[in-house]
């Protein structure tokens, strides 16, 4: 069920309407029923994966807690308990990540085995169950929290099932955390028109991003990236810029719809974006872009890896080899590279995604390694690193570096990405900007104007938010006619200026 479909609107109307009409103690059960209905709409077969993930994690969570409570004071008993807990954890992680791995990566693995060893293995690729990456990461995060004693295991299997399957976030995140969601999901919620209004406004804003910006920019992106050998220089650059617009507007627009829908039920999900294109470094970018994936990686991959025995040994070795300062930074750099390698793999089964992840990881590692050099550079050139001008330079530099990463993210393959980068540099011709070349990419002049105006609106809203202004609250303080006017313009901009796609439409991150 696409988030832009009529049936989704009817679905949220019925589910949210009923939510406030039924007895409050049944609200979470109502949500669970609608979450499974939502999932069932994509096919009966895929529910098996959701159910197996839910049940194994639930049982493992309860087992971990039972083991923790089991009597045993001696060192031997404690050791046995620890080993058993570890076994339960590893088994569940392997099972759940194994399903994800087989469904998502087995084809890629077999393909590369065949390439290297000249074998002829075949693998029947199956359609990836809806949102499997998101709910697997969410439930595994919960399990690790229980293992580390950060939260208690959920005793009610149905309540746990709701945590895994809460329908607004099922399709494309954000990846929720048990400690922040649990109380909100099961608590009763009273009807609040203000909250419903805010939720609807957030959904509307998400649709604006998706339909007016993302779908329109996507036309240029598809044309150039699908036929990458035909385009050079500025045309490729424009396509990459359009991909920046498309990806951000599509993903953050989808998240706006998700967050707005959750708000209708009185549930506040974690924000996934904070003006990423105002980031001053790649590290800062990842603190603003797909935040919930970044924090998941930080908590469940980066920290355990950084604090592992192997990394500690590597730290000691590197301190001896490179000196104290560099030796302290090197393990962090290595952990960062591993984290971003995992981020790349999470995006999909292709070498281009692995390079995409590594590119980000290496940039962050280099920034950490060369931080002392940069500091000396500032002293030498008398540049104030905190000045506004330097901030702008850093924003532009980060935007440039991020745009390079899009080549790997969006290109058809790794070799296509390399060819496109080469073509950007080699075939540079400024006249492409005004000689009509850009009008042959599927958009007309009016489309480009609408795109530019839309980006300007998005940028203005971003700047205001960056200054700490809460837009919806601010608008709600305006006189009735003005605020109605604003929402009416936004609402009618969807049919008037929204791009009309030929297919059913869909969100990019829903495929992950």
């Amino acid at each position: 069920m696409s988030l832009v479909s009529a049936e989704f609107l009817i679905f949220i109307l019925i589910s949210a309407g009923g939510y406030y009409l039924i007895p409050k103690r049944g609200q979470w059960i109502w949500l669970l029923a609608f979450s499974y209905l939502y999932y069932l709409s994509s096919g009966v077969g895929v529910v098996f994966f959701l159910l197996s993930g839910t049940l194994t994690t639930y049982v493992a969570g309860c087992s971990l807690e039972m083991l923790e409570r089991s009597v045993g004071d001696t060192e031997i008993e404690k050791g046995t308990k620890k080993r058993k807990k570890k076994r339960v954890l590893i088994l569940t992680l392997v099972f759940n990540f194994g399903i994800l791995g087989i469904l998502k990566y087995a084809g890629f693995f077999v393909e590369n085995i065949n390439l290297v060893f000249h074998t002829g293995f075949s693998f029947q690729t199956v359609l990836l169950p809806l949102g499997i990456s998101f709910y697997t990461f969410q439930s595994m995060g919960y399990l690790l929290d229980v293992y580390w004693g950060k939260c208690k295991a959920e005793k009610n299997v149905f309540r746990f099932a709701l945590f895994v399957s809460f329908f607004p976030q099922l399709l494309q995140g954000p990846i929720g955390r048990y400690d922040r969601l649990v109380e909100q999901l099961y608590r009763t919620h009273s009807f609040s028109m203000e909250r419903i209004g805010f939720g609807a406004q957030r959904i509307l804003w998400g649709y604006f991003k998706k339909l007016v910006l993302a779908d329109r920019a996507g036309v240029v992106v598809n044309q150039v990236f699908q036929n990458y050998t035909d385009y050079m220089g500025i045309t490729v650059m424009v396509a990459v810029l359009c991909y920046s617009i498309q990806l951000y507007a599509d993903f953050s627009g989808g998240i706006d719809v998700v967050l707005g829908t959750a708000e209708l039920f009185g549930i506040t999900l974690d924000e996934n974006f904070k003006r990423p294109f105002l980031a001053v470094s790649i590290t800062d970018f990842w603190h603003r872009w797909h935040i919930t994936l970044g924090t998941w990686m930080k908590d469940y991959v980066f920290y355990p890896l950084s604090l592992s025995k192997g990394m500690s040994r590597f730290g000691k070795w590197s301190k001896k080899r490179f000196g104290k300062k560099t030796g302290r930074v090197l393990p962090i750099c290595a952990a960062n590279i591993v984290v971003f390698l995992v981020v790349g793999i999470w995006h999909g089964a292709a070498w281009k995604y692995i390079v995409y992840g590594l590119y980000n990881g290496v940039l962050i590692a280099l920034a950490s390694l060369f931080a002392p050099v940069f500091r000396k550079g500032f002293e030498w050139t008398h540049i104030d690193p905190k000045s506004f001008g330097w901030k702008i330079v850093r924003i532009i530099r980060t935007f440039f570096l991020v745009n390079i990463s899009w080549y790997f993210d969006m290109a058809l393959s790794l070799s296509a990405a390399v060819t496109m980068i080469k073509n950007t540099v080699l075939g540079f011709r400024i006249s492409a900007l005004y000689d009509g070349t850009l009008l042959q990419l599927g958009l007309d002049r009016l489309d480009y104007i609408q795109l530019l105006i839309g980006v300007a609106v998005l940028f203005a809203v971003g700047i205001l938010q960056e200054k700490g202004i809460r837009i919806r609250e601010r608008i709600s303080s305006y006189p009735l006619l003005i605020r109605w006017g604003i929402w009416m313009i936004l609402l009618f901009s969807l049919p008037f200026f929204g791009y009309i796609t030929a297919g059913k439409g869909g969100f990019i991150y829903a495929q992950f």
Binding site: V4, Y20, L21, T188, M193, K504
Partner: protein
């Protein structure tokens, strides 16, 4: 219904003096009302008057024995008045461009809701089973012109529920670039002729709406070059959901005790010789499919009953001029008279 909690909430709201909540609900309702009114107003100004309105108006009059359903070729090539002269029955033509089997199914259901016909003659265009559905500028606007009924609701749900919500809520969006025509459209819709379903409103120099759904294409003073087009048949490209809609159409007609006949209209001889395998293969494919359903197929590409000279057509695809259409309709009428015995 357990709405005690809701009532308690409401009581609490009032008791604690939270009148703001009610004010907000009222304002939200008013806002939505304004949105609906504005949406209707824009639709009124932008949506053109189409022959779909005339066709559905004809259908609402009822009293038809035969119902023609199908594509734009059916609209151009079948003149119900001529067919009726031969068959001695009363028919209307609901064939429209960009209308797919699912739309046809609901047109039959709508007809049955009003006054069930005795026979449905389905103009089968094999290409409509293989191409992607054309979205945008939804020419016939069948749904828009249908009167409100359970059929309309089911049709909307079946056809548009999983599509972009704007197609259902803002059909005028396909005409948003035609703002300059809005004054003319509004003037037309406010006229007496519009209220009286005057065919002149949907006719122009090239095509005259002759009544009962027949779009009579006029010969130009100077012969124009016909656009090349022929059937690119590929059995593997057949969309199974459309085929299921066809089977459902047949099943529904049987259930309603309505005779169902399928017809493949003749393509120009030149077009057929350019791609003889395509026409032959598609004809055979549908003949077999329909045979399994117990439905007769009259394939005018195969039976040679109509001399398909190019001069009778205004394009290579198979749309005829009025005189060609009248000649063909007479032959079709003769076949339909015999169809009970086929």
């Amino acid at each position: 219904m357990h709405n005690s909690d809701f009532e308690t909430d409401v009581k609490k709201m009032c008791a604690t003096g939270k009148r703001k909540q009610w004010k907000r609900i009222l304002y939200a309702g008013l806002f939505l009302l304004c949105v609906v009114l504005l949406n209707e107003a824009v639709g009124f100004a932008l949506l053109p008057v189409t022959y779909a309105r005339m066709n559905l108006h004809n259908l609402e009059q009822g009293g038809y024995d035969d119902l023609f359903i199908g594509t734009s070729r059916g609209a151009n090539n079948i003149n119900p008045a001529v067919v009726d002269e031969v068959t001695g029955r009363k028919s209307t033509n609901l064939c429209m461009g960009n209308v797919y089997p699912l739309d046809d199914l609901y047109l039959i259901r709508e007809a049955c809701r009003i006054d069930p016909p005795k026979r449905v003659i389905y103009e089968l265009d094999p290409s409509y089973y293989t191409v992607e559905e054309f979205q945008g500028m939804a020419d016939p606007f069948v749904l828009h012109e249908m009167s409100f009924s359970s059929v309309k609701v089911r049709y909307a749900a079946d056809k548009y529920l999983d599509d972009d919500f704007r197609i259902l809520l803002h059909q005028w969006m396909f005409y948003r670039n035609h703002l300059s025509q809005a004054p003319e459209i509004m003037k037309m819709k406010l006229s007496e002729a519009y209220r009286n379903y005057d065919p002149a409103l949907v006719s122009d120099a090239q095509t005259i709406y002759r009544g009962e759904g027949f779009l009579a294409r006029q010969r130009p003073e100077e012969e124009t070059v016909r656009a090349e087009s022929w059937l690119n048949w590929n059995e593997e490209a057949v969309k199974k959901d459309r085929e299921e809609d066809l089977i459902e159409m047949i099943r529904y007609c049987k259930e309603q005790d309505i005779e169902f006949v399928a017809v493949i209209l003749p393509a120009p001889e030149e077009t057929r010789t350019a791609n003889p395998e395509g026409y032959e293969a598609s004809g055979q494919y549908y003949e077999e499919l329909l045979k399994k359903q117990g439905v007769p197929l009259i394939d005018f590409n195969e039976n040679g009953a109509f001399t398909a000279d190019l001069e009778k057509y205004y394009d290579m695809e198979g749309h005829m001029y009025e005189d060609g259409a009248n000649e063909f309709s007479r032959i079709l009428g003769e076949y339909l008279s015999l169809s009970r015995n086929m």
